[in-house]
Symmetry: none
Subunit: 71 residues, 2 copies
DNA sequence: TCGAAGTAGGGTAATTAGGGGC
DNA sequence: TCTGTCCTAATTACCCTACTTC
């Protein structure tokens, strides 16, 4: 998986689509669940996630949308 | 470790590998956090950084990529 | 030289991870 | 099995002002 860090810190994939990272709370609002549930989804592999150097979880907006659309 | 700062903000090592320097905002967007948080990571030693003569922080793209892939 | 944007500090409130129990 | 809630410690976001960069 190749990605490019853009001039503004954006995250660009091979397809040229600019992506951004969402917090657990933001993802929780999308699905109407508790942020803790989103965290559990990460541990069980139900949703892809990225960890900050300190260990907190972030989620790619494109993947969240894909799950919402019947991933 | 000897290195040369290029005209476009590039960073060239002895191995000839060009490494771009990223601003706190760019790194912040890449990890989905506040730029202030990236600055904090520098002080706590979670991410290697380079300081400009005036004291501002910059980060090597290769280091950021390494951290994103699990440090 | 001017204005807009970004950054470094500090201080405080909010969020998160993790475990445990329901 | 899955989820929401309670707890603590750690981490982060947002507020401000002054300085730097473009």
């Amino acid at each position: 998986m190749t990605s490019i860090i853009g001039p503004n810190g954006t995250f660009t994939t091979e397809t040229g689509v600019t992506d951004r990272l969402l917090t657990p709370t933001e993802v929780a609002r999308f699905f109407g669940v508790d942020p803790k549930t989103v965290t559990r989804w990460s541990r069980t592999g139900r949703i892809p996630s990225v960890r900050t150097p300190s260990g907190q979880l972030r989620y790619r907006e494109s993947e969240v949308r894909a799950l919402l659309n019947g991933g």
